[in-house]
Symmetry: C2
Subunit: 304 residues, 2 copies
């Protein structure tokens, strides 16, 4: 089974604390690193947690609030100093250009690679990236400014050959690939051996969804239905419900409601307000609604 894991680099919010860095995560899909958000200090967190910067494939920026982007200049500059040559694709709101262009002009003659910006659609779901094994989608969240969530989805894997049956019918090696794709086998006497006799289903495709920052928004549920892992912001405890509404953030209970409505397998909460020194209340309030909830923490790795 391919590697599919999520590493939390930062799970704080606007004001960093000594406990939590600004938002950033790495999705490691089969040794390619997809970064979501890039708060100040993200490149330092990568080093701290021994993430290989050379494996960085592309960047996905949920929205243009400072805590999600202030690590970009440093990261881009370091990538260049380390001699990256491959294009770097950045998926973000189109105005990100205004923010990073001055830095690029400044570093202009030194940049060792090209940056390609792909504007996100803040209105509807969109396929951003696809290769032979995965698809990455964006979808709209509900925040003070245009904000997108992201869905990382494995493609259906080929069916597994049942070795004993293959041996039994002495199926030639060159026919194996098409049988994996679903073909039947016809024996020399013309008997059809149905594919579901020859194979068992492939691994079920795994899916990871990232929802931050967002107000409580049940309308996002269709985009994240049945995900294996859901990261949903939980900036506030229930005691700050009104403040959560005003600032277009969620409470831990609301994050759990979304996880339950989406029938997620596991929920991870984060984007904690700097007012919380301990997170027991947030966890308790989420678990009451959705038991399989875990707190995000810097350096924590979630395997799918």
């Amino acid at each position: 089974m391919n590697k599919f894991q999520v590493t939390i680099l930062g799970c704080g919010s606007a004001i960093p604390t000594t406990m939590h860095n600004p938002p950033s995560q790495l999705v490691d899909l089969n040794e390619k690193l997809f970064m979501i958000d890039c708060g100040e200090g993200t490149q330092l967190q990568m080093r701290k947690f021994k993430a290989r910067i050379s494996k960085l494939h592309s960047l996905f920026i949920s929205h243009l609030h400072g805590d999600h982007i202030f690590g970009l200049p440093g990261l881009l500059s370091t990538l260049s100093m380390l001699g990256r040559t491959g294009d770097l694709h950045i998926y973000a709101h189109k105005e990100i250009n205004l923010l990073i262009k001055p830095f690029l002009i400044y570093m202009g003659k030194h940049m060792s690679f090209r940056i390609k910006l792909f504007p996100l659609n803040p209105e509807r779901q969109e396929l951003l990236f696809e290769n032979k094994s995965i698809r990455i989608f964006s979808f709209p969240l509900k925040h003070r400014i245009a904000t997108n969530g992201f869905l990382f989805e494995e493609k259906e894997s080929p069916r597994h050959i049942i070795r004993e049956i293959i041996d039994l019918y002495q199926i030639p090696l060159k026919q194996i690939p098409e049988i994996k794709e679903g073909a039947d086998f016809i024996t020399s006497d013309g008997t059809i051996i149905r594919n579901d006799i020859l194979t068992s289903p492939g691994n079920p495709p795994r899916r990871y969804a990232y929802c931050s920052d967002t107000a409580y928004a049940p309308e996002i549920v269709p985009y994240i239905k049945n995900v294996d892992l859901l990261y949903h912001e939980a900036t506030f405890a229930e005691s700050e419900l009104i403040r959560a509404g005003e600032t277009y953030h969620s409470t831990a209970r609301q994050a759990a409601e979304i996880a339950r409505a989406a029938n997620a397998r596991q929920l991870v909460i984060g984007h904690y307000s700097s007012r919380y020194n301990e997170l027991g209340t947030l966890l308790k309030e989420a678990v009451a609604v959705f038991p399989n909830t875990e707190l995000a923490a810097e350096g924590k790795v979630f395997e799918l």
Copy 2:
């Protein structure tokens, strides 16, 4: 005696490591914090080392290489979120405007305070700031782009009253201030009591100089003559002397040569290249020329 101390927030160089953050320092002069340079993660380092962000007086940026400025957006944004109202003065190369303006536009409606930019003169020494107890100067360094060093200088303090003599002559309280400033005293019978009988010299003014980044440049010595503490970059060991010259950086030995020529009391070296996992060689090479040398380290405080 007034507080005069330097806290190292970061003493690495262009590529951050797990050991060293990008450059930044705080000069605490009588409970006012003057920040020199602001690499990525500086606001996080302030929190880590419990520096009071509310005491931040002004910023001094040596030059516009990324490792010295990429912490600015995050710091400015946090200052605003915490509700700073006083103007923030930033002394830097005039083009810093191009780099931070887009962030300011973006944060525009939210900024709680005004930023005033003061362009540095990259050609000659200049008085940047003065109040009743200190003066801050910039002076040119020798780097790939326009770069300035900074000198923080106490003003001469008033002479100390010698209590016993004052009592002996029954000098009225209201005359004490002028005597502290150097006036003589005339007794009722017309005898002149010379000031140097009445007072002893005030504390000698203390001086701190920051020289980073710079090639070996003996021409800076006049600006930093007789400082109590000299921070001088030592990016490389002597084995990288040629590379130091090419990149307009210094070796540890060269930093020590400058300290000796300037007759500094103490030298602190920093801005270590990321290639050094241990700094014993750098320290040894500096100490051979200037014994009173110390290695900078994150969180270290130097009292003047």
